[in-house]
Amino acid sequence: MSNLDTLESELLTAIDGANDEATLEDVRVHALGKKGKISEQMKTLGKMTPDERQVMGPALNGLKAKITDAISARKDVLAEAALETRLASEKVDVSLPLRPAAAETGRIHPVSQVIDELTAIFADMGFSIAEGPDIETDELNFTALNFPVGHPAREMHDTFFFNEKTDGDRLLLRTHTSPVQIRTMRTQEPPIRVIIPGRTYRCDSDQTHTPMFHQVEGLVIDKGSHFGHLKWVLREFCKSFFEVDDIKMRFRPSFFPFTEPSMEVDIQCDRSGGEVKIGQGEDWLEILGCGMVHPNVIRNCGLDPDVYQGFAWGMGIDRIAMLKYGMPDLRAFFDADVRWIQHYGFRPLDLPTLFGGLSS
């Protein structure tokens, strides 16, 4: 028996001492291989007396099982240690900065974003988007809009002209988006609800005027829309666009040749803090002009002003963008300075919706 005890302790020591899988395999062969110590002992069982076998059989089998388990356990320990070593060697510095993703660095210009915001709001009120050319005729830009030839109101527009043609016609760059009102009324049966965003041009340049800017015009023509509706549409628009719960508005009589009555609209704001806050405070800020479409304009589009009526309004897209998002200088809109676009621009997948919030 003591032989077996000695063998056991000898083998267990060898197993514990094996520091890698190869050494452990050597120990296994040395113990359990065909010519291994335990296998050799097993072979002797046949020559033993039944009594001897009675004792040695279970003892040898017990030893074999014990050694097998010990080897297996040791194998697990070694595998674990090897993995630990590998993991330790595989460590990287995850603080290394990545290149920013293209979809995260691209930006949408505020003018485009604001047009999308306007679209979301007015689509909800049943409006479509109409457009027209930048190069216009004098007739559509002025005459059909009830600006008589030679009237001082024309001079308020600082118009860019093209050269006179041989037939005396002279095209111009539209000074407002209003000619699209005429184009729409002449081609579309009422009821009409459209907004008209686009580029407009006046020869004027300083901090708040650029020779090119963006306007959005609204037009409603049907058999019953009146000034009370206009007030409501503009208030709902202002609340929705500036994302405030309520806003005080002031409608002041004014003059535009193509509307009668005509109004300018001021909204409540607070200028005390250095930047303009919309929808609070005691100051007024003019943001748009509007009115009931002039009977002459309706008539100029082939409709009867005693049957059809409606309203129109217009405002600067760049201007309302500046008010909402805080750009101080209009000229920077058209400079394509990437620092400005990165700062004031919008992420490409931030599409304004009413259900998800215009700007959040």
Partner: protein
């Protein structure tokens, strides 16, 4: 239009405060732009008397003054004014006071070693006038120590309103008072209807002579006042004129300016002794000239209406008087003119000659015709009050046109257009208090507009008057009814494509720019534009003279501006209009992008994971294809051509076409010669996508995508390498391979191109990976060999190459 509060109160009997008046003016459409008070800036300045004026010890032209300020000891002041003298009463500024005309704050100073404790001011230094020949020299009895502004009557609010062009009646203070009274802010005072009897016939006759051409003058009233004593006008008149920014000249001229602003009635005065013969109002003649009272000289022609005497042109009718016949302090006999001119002619002449005067401003908007002769009477009264003299009878040429203007007015129009119900009494009161006459009864009445309201044209104008006076705030907010259905798509195909291209490009790291629609003629020429029909007649600058034929010039310039600021690796795009001709159809929408430096999709510049290389033609191609895919173009069916415009590198550019004539996009490196001409540094690649060239999507039809057809059988892949001529383009080879067995070949990938050792000099090796997707049964070796043979045969036939052994 500017006026002072007291001037307004000459015509309006009111207890309203300044704030109330300002608020109401704005709310009835006479928008107050500014209220100023000159006294605010002049508060610290007090009246002081010079006690002694000694010669400065170290300067010939300076004097050392001892000045009595009204309190404490006299102070010492060094002064250079030639009129500084003992006994002068003037206006003193002390250390700490801000001098508006000099934009400095005074401090104790030392001038040539003599200390000075303040300054005696000139009118220009206090911004009272341009006078700067000496310091202010007040009457001797002016109270020393008193606030100068208060004593001089400068402590008064000046109100400036931004007048809309439809309200000529409010170019005079009286008209403004009328509007305020109508709005319930007081009572309008009656204006004088005095008719002054002349004691003799007007010795100068007036005639209108337009032959058979259109009359540019409708009527002309004239009167002489003889034996006047002209001179400076009284202080109250000078104060009013200076308060609104006019320069007092002499009593006769000041009178005309005063009535212009008081009544909106421009007048002119001639020195009768400088008028030769009678006056004729006629068209100018080429070669004639006039020296205007503004110091400028103008050539006239037959589009310009003049008043002439035997000497020639004496006045530009209704716009500007002439210097030779103007009134001076020596004038003894004066001719007063009150006339009516054609509005359009006044505007045209003003524009043509570039003259802006207070008279033009009023006449081109339309002055009250019925006030022509009363205005002449009022002027006569003022002349006699200010200068004495004896008036002649008045004479008149032409006829004051009948201004009767009657509008049929159904009261229901107020509700129809304004959406508010007012009582008939309220409506009638508003109209009547503005001077309208109402006759008839019932639902529709006749309303006659007053002669001073040429802007009233029809019912809508009356509605405006009513809501303006009663108050826009009384119109209730009324929800616009919904259209009854869930709103359909509101954008056009073009708008949708622009939006999709825009967002797709931004996800590729591009920054969206908005650049000018106009560029320089040179840029336009270089990019295929420059047609004369697209050049502006009056550009704001030579850099903005021509409508752009492409977005590239603007974006290339923008990229360079960014590079000049130190940001050279930029990717910019714009979605916008280009102009091929001046018709609406010639305006096209494009999406254009440029990448500069190393601004690649994966990121720009150096990085631990690997530095970005310079942008190349394939970056631009990838952008173009991505944007085209976003707008719904069949990208896998597009053909590549190499005939890109001249603005691109001929060997590193291409076009994406749908059929040989329909170019959807161009892309490539910008031509180096072009960059050099534009003084722009590369590397720069770009693309331009013609958003409207893609055919409209098919109409309605179903939205079903159909069943997915995915095979359960394993695909098989085989590689092939071919030796082909260097000139063979990849597309030819790929097309041949793909077409070899369309039902089986699901994908062909080009994975290697090699030139060099082992490949003949004029050839390249092109390796492709072909994926075979069996549908019915697993492919046998024989099947695969058969396809491979077809592929090899097709490619060899199409390219003239051989399978690489």
């Amino acid at each position: 239009m500017k006026f002072t509060l007291s001037w307004l109160k000459d015509h309006l009997d009111t207890d309203a405060s300044l704030e109330e008046i300002v608020e109401r003016l704005t709310m009835i459409g006479l928008e107050v732009e500014e209220v100023t008070n000159r006294a605010d800036r002049l508060k610290p300045f007090r009246i002081a008397r010079v006690l002694e004026a000694e010669q400065h010890p170290n300067a010939d032209r300076l004097r050392v003054l001892k000045v009595d300020t009204g309190e404490g000891d006299p102070i010492q002041i060094v002064c250079g004014a030639p009129n500084a003298r003992a006994g002068l009463v003037g206006v003193l500024g002390k250390p700490g006071d801000y001098i508006p005309g000099l934009d400095v704050t005074l401090s104790v100073g030392k001038i040539r070693d003599v200390e000075s404790f303040g300054m005696m001011c000139s009118e220009r230094e206090l911004e009272l006038s341009d006078e700067h020949t000496g310091i202010i020299d007040l009457a001797e009895d002016a109270p020393v120590g008193m606030s100068y502004a208060e004593w001089a009557g400068l402590d008064e609010p000046v109100i400036e309103i931004g007048l809309t062009p439809n309200r000529p009646d409010c170019t005079g203070v009286y008209g403004i008072a009328r509007d305020l009274a109508a709005a319930g802010l007081g009572k309008l005072k009656e204006r004088s209807r005095e008719q002054i009897r002349g004691t003799y016939a007007c010795p100068v006759d007036i005639s209108l002579d337009f032959g058979d051409t259109k009359a540019m003058c409708k009527a002309f009233g004239l009167r002489m006042v003889k034996g006047v004593k002209n001179g400076p006008s009284p202080k109250w008149l000078q104060d009013r004129l200076t308060a609104i920014g006019l320069r007092p000249i002499n009593a006769l001229v000041d009178m005309t300016n005063y009535i212009t602003f008081d009544q909106g009635r421009p007048l002119h005065v001639f020195d009768a002794d400088k008028v030769h013969g009678n006056l004729t109002v006629r068209r100018g003649r080429t070669g004639e000239k006039i020296d205007g009272l503004n110091g400028k000289s103008y050539d006239v022609d037959d589009t310009i209406c003049v008043i002439a005497d035997d000497n020639g042109v004496e006045s530009l009718g209704g716009i500007l008087g002439g210097e030779p016949s103007g009134c001076t302090e020596d004038t003894v006999n004066v001719l007063i003119e009150s006339a009516l001119w054609d509005e359009d002619d006044i505007a045209a002449t003003g524009r043509k000659l570039g003259v802006n005067t207070d008279a033009r401003y009023r006449f081109e908007r339309g002055v009250d015709p019925d006030y022509m002769m009363p205005g002449l009477e009022y002027a006569t009264r003022m002349v006699m009050d200010l200068c004495g003299g004896e008036p002649s009878e008045t004479i008149q040429a032409g006829a004051v046109p009948d201004s009767t203007n009657i509008v049929e007015f159904p009261y229901s129009e107020v509700k129809r257009l304004a959406g508010v119900e007012f009582s008939l009494a309220e409506i009638n009161l508003a109209l009547k208090s503005l001077g309208f006459w109402i006759s008839g009864s019932g639902d529709t009445v006749k309303v006659a507009a007053p002669s001073w309201r040429p802007d009233i044209e029809g019912k809508a104008d009356l509605v405006e008057e009513v809501v303006r006076i009663i108050g826009l705030e009384r119109v209730p907010f009324t929800p616009l009814p919904r259209t009854g259905t869930v709103n359909q798509k509101v954008l056009t195909t073009s708008q949708i494509r622009r939006n999709k291209a825009r967002r797709a490009l931004a996800t590729r790291g591009f920054n969206e720019a908005v650049t000018w629609s106009f560029i320089s003629a040179e840029q336009a020429d270089l990019f295929g534009g420059g047609a004369s029909e697209l050049a502006l007649a009056n550009p704001i600058s030579p850099e903005m003279s021509d409508m752009r034929p492409s977005l590239l010039p603007g974006l290339l310039a923008a990229a360079q501006r960014n590079a000049d600021r130190g940001f050279g690796d930029v990717a910019l795009f714009e979605v916008g209009q280009i102009f091929l001709d001046d018709t609406p159809e010639g305006q096209k929408m494009v999406a254009t992008g440029v990448r500069r430096g190393t601004a690649k999709l994966q990121g720009a510049g150096r990085h631990w994971s690997g530095a970005a290389s310079n942008v190349d033609v394939f970056d631009a191609k990838a952008d173009a294809e991505a944007a085209l895919a976003a707008i719904g173009a069949p990208v896998d069916r597009l053909q590549i051509y190499t005939d890109a415009p001249d603005s691109f590198h001929p060997g590193r550019s291409g076009c994406l076409k749908l059929g040989p004539k329909n170019t959807l996009a161009v892309f490539g490196e910008i031509h180096p010669r072009l960059l050099q001409k534009l003084d722009i540094e590369g590397p720069l690649v770009a693309f331009e996508i013609y958003l409207e060239a893609l055919p409209q999507p098919k109409g309605k039809g179903g939205r079903s995508k159909g069943a997915m057809n995915a095979s359960d059988l394993m695909p098989v892949r085989r590689d092939f390498a071919f030796l082909v001529g260097k000139e063979v383009v990849a597309e030819t080879l790929l097309k041949a391979a793909r077409g070899a067995e369309k039902n089986l070949i699901s994908n062909v990938t080009l994975f290697d191109i090699y030139e060099g050792q082992g490949v003949p000099e004029d050839q390249k090796s092109v390796a492709i990976d072909v994926m075979l997707q069996p549908r019915q049964k697993t492919l046998t070796d024989e099947d695969i060999d058969a396809v491979a043979k077809k592929i090899i045969a097709n490619v060899e036939k199409a390219t003239g190459g051989t399978l690489r052994g």
